[in-house]
């Protein structure tokens, strides 16, 4: 059984994830780059819905929100993340992809704690502490400005009580091929979510004096798509139809490449710990076509590119 246990202290400072530990799952071997803004986990070429996420034993069908830019669980609450890319226990029920088993920590008992964080695209707060007779509480909330800006929005989180090593990182390369057929009489064909090659190089280095610099580079196979051609014209309705080539998803977009860089600065003033960061996605503005947009009769097309250069900055104070 392949099992990878993640350390939140490392995950939260991964470049391109905005400090969201669950988003760091997308950097692991066997996990493909998800479709843009989908908030999905594509494990070993399986469909996103074939991978189940459990939080303290409860299946959570939609673990990312805000267009896949943030997870629903604050990173500070995570105790452990166990990731099984396949061959996992029957206790997790049905599933053809992977399993993510997230464990949450208990609220702190040694006094009241809180944090507030504001980034250019969102804000959030968390408070926790004892309430007597052995009871504790924890409340957390976040508000993204995404609905106001209608642009890609990233929520930022970072910090942990766990000590972080001076350097961490890895190079992962996954070679996989996902094929399916709808009926036994049909030949096998590439499945929609196949990404044959997934290379991820990730690292984070503590520069000293509170500064940390990290980066992530991804080079993966392009997305599969189904080319379209001119079909019949529905003259009764006034609508041009397309003809989709067979088999579906028989063509592939160019290679995906992206470099993300993150710079953190931590500081302490009395009982308050603070930090600021800037996380830049797609530093050198790679185009990365994700799909095609066609003209009315499918004779011309233009690529739909992925995220442009996207800098996110934020600040947080923790008591």
């Amino acid at each position: 059984v392949t099992k990878r246990t993640l350390v939140a202290a490392e995950m939260e400072r991964s470049a391109g994830t905005h400090g969201d530990a669950l988003l760091s799952l997308q950097n692991l071997p066997g996990v493909a780059r998800p479709p843009p803004f989908s908030g999905q986990l594509v494990v070993r070429g399986s469909a996103p819905q074939d991978t189940n996420v459990f939080i303290d034993g409860t299946n959570v069908p939609l673990v990312y929100h805000f267009g896949g830019l943030s997870s629903v669980v604050p990173t500070e609450l995570l105790k452990k993340i166990d990731f099984y890319p396949g061959n996992y226990s029957a206790q997790y029920g049905r599933g053809m992809g992977g399993i993510v088993d997230v464990g949450l920590r208990d609220p702190k008992k040694d006094g009241y704690h809180g944090l507030a964080e504001v980034s250019i695209l969102g804000a959030r707060a968390l408070v926790e502490g004892p309430i007597g007779s052995g009871w504790t509480f924890l409340a957390s909330g976040q508000r993204s400005w995404l609905d106001l800006l209608v642009t890609p929005v990233l929520k930022a989180t970072h910090a942990s009580t766990t000590a972080m090593p001076r350097f961490f990182g890895w190079i992962s390369y996954t070679l996989s091929r996902s094929e399916r057929r709808d009926v036994p009489s049909e030949p096998y064909a590439l499945y929609q979510f196949d990404q044959t090659h997934v290379l991820t190089i990730l690292g984070s280095y503590k520069l000293g004096r509170g500064w940390t610099l990290g980066g992530r580079f991804r080079l993966t196979s392009g997305d599969l798509y189904t080319p379209r051609d001119t079909g019949a014209y529905d003259a009764t309705v006034g609508s041009q139809l397309a003809v989709s080539s067979f088999p579906p998803y028989g063509s592939r977009m160019p290679l995906f490449e992206q470099l993300d860089i993150r710079l953190d600065r931590s500081f302490t003033r009395g009982p308050v710990r603070g930090s600021a960061f800037i996380d830049i996605q797609n530093v050198y503005f790679a185009n990365n076509p994700m799909g095609l947009s066609y003209n009315y009769n499918y004779t011309k097309s233009t690529p739909i590119n992925g995220l442009p250069l996207l800098p996110i900055t934020g600040v947080r104070f923790e008591l």
Binding site: F37, L62, F66, A235, Q240, V243, M290, S293, N295
Partner: protein, 323 residues
């Protein structure tokens, strides 16, 4: 956030990215090639055994014409194909038509076509919910060359089984060739009349379709900033008929929906399609479109096609003079 909201958000973001692409594709209503815009049956709902006459609005909008555009009709209509799918008619064509030869002698030509709705059009249709019906598919071809039968094969089972070729045998592309299908329904008692397109207004004034409309060129570098003038259609209220198949939750019979498509060889309109009659609310306010002129002076043409959602259609055309 629910799956539905997540899907909407991701769709909105992808659409936003698509809108940011550098290459702009021509809008579907810009006429610059061989086009079939609409067909019209004199009886959108016909009785079995009735004689139905079809007209086609076919346009040759090519800036340069190496050969004239011809309009053809497949003479045998296709009644009640499996699942009412037009592409299910293609296997029968494969048996009936030779390959590698000019099909002109086997096709009907011209902008009108007459056929007889089969006597068993309703009886031979598989039973379905609601009123028994039948459907006949009529195929129309516009080609700036000659037409040959070209089986589409397994790779594209819904692919068009015809090709358009020039005199030297080179297969022409979509700018020179359109294959269209039309549906004509058969009912024992139901009827549907084509919408009445009483006229067009431009800037609030009636348009003389013989004289056309005039406008000054747009001098803005960004065409989004070009001045606009309202363009609207005159369709009498009684053109919107009751649609017995369209019932609300209380069983009340609603009306059919009417919409208008605008096509131009120059300039543009804000909306390619405008709903002019709603099934429940009737004619809403603001059914007009906004026209903006092209950057170049010249003579252009505008087509206005009114549809109902039951196969009815009507159209008008007028010149556009840009100074």
């Amino acid at each position: 956030m629910t799956h539905r909201h997540a899907h909407r958000l991701s769709t909105a973001l992808v659409v936003l990215l698509a809108a940011c692409q550098q290459v702009k594709l021509d809008p579907p209503n810009k006429i610059a090639s061989v086009r079939i815009l609409a067909t019209r049956a004199d009886q959108p709902y016909a009785r079995p055994g009735a004689t139905v006459t079809m007209d086609v609005l076919a346009i040759d909008g090519r800036p340069t014409k190496a050969a004239p555009m011809n309009v053809y009709w497949v003479p045998s209509v296709c009644a009640n194909p499996p699942s009412d799918m037009y592409s299910a008619c293609f296997p029968a064509l494969q048996q009936a038509l030779p390959r590698g030869v000019d099909l002109a002698p086997l096709l009907a030509s011209g902008t009108s076509f007459t056929f007889r709705m089969p006597d068993d059009a309703i009886a031979s249709h598989l039973p379905a919910d609601g009123e028994p019906y039948g459907v006949a598919f009529v195929f129309t071809i516009a080609c700036a060359g000659h037409v040959e039968y070209v089986p589409s094969g397994r790779a594209a089972p819904d692919g068009v089984p015809f090709g358009c070729f020039d005199d030297s045998g080179v297969r022409l592309g979509a700018d020179d060739f359109v294959f269209a299908y039309s549906r004509v329904y058969a009912f024992a008692a139901r009827s549907n009349q084509n919408p009445v397109l009483g006229g067009v207004t431009f800037g609030g004034d009636p348009v003389d379709v013989a004289q056309g409309i005039s406008a000054g060129i747009c001098t803005e570098s960004n065409t989004d900033h070009c001045p606009t003038r309202p363009l609207d259609v005159v369709v009498p209220n009684d053109s919107q008929e009751l649609d017995p198949s369209n019932l609300d939750v209380d069983g009340q019979v609603l009306h059919e929906q009417l919409y208008v498509d605008y096509y131009l060889t120059g300039g543009r309109v804000m909306n390619d399609t405008v709903v002019i009659f709603d099934p429940r609310a009737g004619r809403p306010s603001g059914t007009g479109d906004e026209f903006s002129a092209p950057a170049d002076a010249g003579e252009y043409q505008v087509w206005v096609v009114a549809h109902d959602n039951r196969g009815g259609a009507a159209w008008q055309s007028f010149p556009l003079h840009v100074r």
